[in-house]
């Protein structure tokens, strides 16, 4: 997987019967989540957001991507995390736009890439908190940067657009295209297109297997098994048309202006015609 070329597009749908099999498998394994269950996703996400912010706040110029990523993993473990959907990624400087990356191996945090004072950076991690995953990615800049602020403003606009796209009659392919168009209309580059299978969003599910030891990196075997057992591409919004857009989605638009990149990754819940950002939903609810 890591040796795959970033610009290489793999069309799994061309395998006879694969699409049908995925759809059938996915239909049978969909789940509606109660508020109590969603609260556990919220707690997981909150812990991840706080940890990312804490580490981002500590980084000093000269630190390597590898150290930053390892420190984020370590902080999460200190807070009780035992396993990961995927371990932490850290991208500094131009690597926030995936510039110069050829294979997915190049996306791994590197020990020879150091943070500079004028660098922007992205931290992205996905721990299981008591069996409940969250996947959060956030962009930062070490010092004040006008270009980054401009880019972030665009990202905020995209974030505002997203719930309306899920509320309408659009299917997953159209949602993907609308977000891609929105990025291009802002004269920006769509970086998530370079993610494996061009994934913009993927579903999250509780996992009982998360208690078992995890030995693969950066993605755990639990992550592979979970997504494969639910029909792989049916669990993602990646430019394909899927059965249903209902679910607990980790959505991750990643944009760049060619020199710096930023992203956000947060949980959006689409269920029974309702669409809401999980963080806003529980923050507005107050005490629980």
């Amino acid at each position: 997987m890591l040796n795959l070329k970033i610009d290489e597009k793999i069309n799994l749908s061309s395998v006879p019967g694969f699409e049908f099999f995925q759809k059938e498998l996915n239909k049978r394994r969909q789940k509606k989540y109660s508020d109590k269950e969603l609260l556990r996703f919220y707690i997981s996400q909150r812990l991840t957001i706080d940890s990312i912010n804490e580490v981002a706040n500590l980084l000093r110029p000269g630190i390597s991507e590898l150290d930053a990523a390892k420190m984020l993993d370590t902080l999460l473990k200190k807070k009780g995390v035992r396993h990961f959907l995927h371990h932490s990624f850290a991208w500094f400087g131009e690597r926030t736009c995936f510039n110069g990356m050829v294979s997915y191996k190049d996306t791994l945090p590197r020990g020879d890439i150091y943070l500079r004072e004028d660098d922007c950076f992205i931290l992205d991690t996905a721990p299981y908190v008591k069996g409940v995953p969250s996947d959060v990615g956030l962009g930062f800049c070490y010092s004040k940067d006008i270009q980054f602020e401009k880019l972030n403003k665009n990202l905020v606009e995209i974030k505002k657009e997203i719930p309306t796209l899920f509320t309408g009659e659009l299917n997953s392919k159209e949602i993907y295209q609308r977000i891609a168009d929105s990025i291009i209309n802002k004269d920006l580059k769509n970086v998530h297109e370079l993610y494996p299978f061009g994934v913009l969003a993927h579903r999250l599910h509780h996992s009982t297997l998360s208690r078992l030891p995890s030995f693969l990196k950066p993605f755990s075997w639990q992550a592979y098994l979970d997504i494969l057992s639910r029909g792989f591409l049916e669990e993602t919004i990646s430019g394909n048309n899927i059965n249903s857009i209902d679910g607990v989605w980790a959505i991750e638009p990643h944009i760049s202006d060619g020199k710096i990149g930023t992203k956000f990754e947060e949980i959006i819940v689409v269920q029974d015609g309702e669409v809401f950002w999980l963080d806003e939903y529980f923050s507005n609810k107050g005490s629980f």
Partner: protein
């Protein structure tokens, strides 16, 4: 010398802080084994008052993974509220030297220079491993045994009494908390771990009669060296020449940095 309590990931950690003059770098002091930051009392009083100072207890960073130690170290720096953007000087004694090499990785661009007092950086230790240094560091080999480390940390085996007999020139408090760093140190020396290198100039002040350090040849060191009279702990005496040498070195590095900046 102001002792400050910092909340680091929910735990209380003590550091000592000395405020300097605005715009000047921070000198971070790494004590050795089996000391705590109180060993720096005389040195701290003698270091030019222009500099900010931060003394940390290595026991706060020991016994955890290196990544966690780095995380705690960065958090200590951040919470100390000291002006790190003015630059950092590292000063370390004994095992504090190798610890500086590990932690320097997370503040690479801030480091303007490192001074080793009766200590070497990891790279120099490794270059000198095939020498009499092995015999001088015999205790580091004994410290590889985890039951032994546990016993020492918990002051079994009459640790303190034994130590007082072996190192009768030691004065001040005894704290065995930093013993766990010897495991990491040993792994680095025998090549299990990659050796991190410190950025910036390096200077060694070594005592002629130190029973734990063999004075290496200059070609095996990464910087200049001065040999002073005395033994392992005499660099901490209030009339020690080392304090004057430290001040002189810091001043010359300040000038070099200013030249480079202009």
């Amino acid at each position: 010398m102001e002792i400050k309590n910092l909340n680091i990931f929910g735990k209380n950690k003590k550091v000592f802080i000395k405020r300097g003059n605005q715009g000047n770098p921070v000198v971070i002091l790494f004590h050795g084994f089996p000391d705590n930051f109180f060993i720096w009392k005389n040195v701290s009083a003698g270091v030019d008052e222009r500099y900010y100072q931060l003394g940390i207890n290595l026991s706060d960073l020991a016994g955890v993974s290196l990544n966690e130690a780095k995380l705690i170290f960065l958090s200590l720096l951040k919470n100390s509220g000291l002006p790190l953007d003015n630059g950092i000087y590292f000063v370390g004694h004994d095992i504090g030297g190798p610890v500086m090499s590990y932690l320097g990785d997370v503040v690479k661009n801030d480091i303007r220079g490192s001074i080793f007092l009766n200590s070497l950086d990891l790279d120099s230790y490794r270059k000198n491993i095939i020498s009499k240094q092995v015999f001088k560091s015999w205790y580091a080999i004994v410290f590889q045994l985890s039951p032994y480390r546990w016993a020492i940390k918990n002051n079994l085996l009459f640790g303190k009494q034994l130590f007082k007999k072996l190192a009768n020139s030691h004065k001040g408090e005894i704290d065995f908390g930093s013993i766990d760093f010897y495991k990491l140190f040993f792994n680095s020396l025998i090549g299990i771990r990659n050796i991190p290198t410190l950025r910036g100039p390096v200077f060694y002040i070594l005592s002629k009669d130190d029973p734990y350090i063999k004075i290496p040849s200059r070609k095996y060191l990464n910087g200049d060296i001065t040999v002073v009279r005395g033994d392992h702990w005499s660099v901490f005496f209030d009339d020690s020449i080392s304090i004057r040498i430290i001040n002189k070195k810091l001043k010359s590095w300040d000038l070099d940095y200013a030249k480079l900046k202009n």
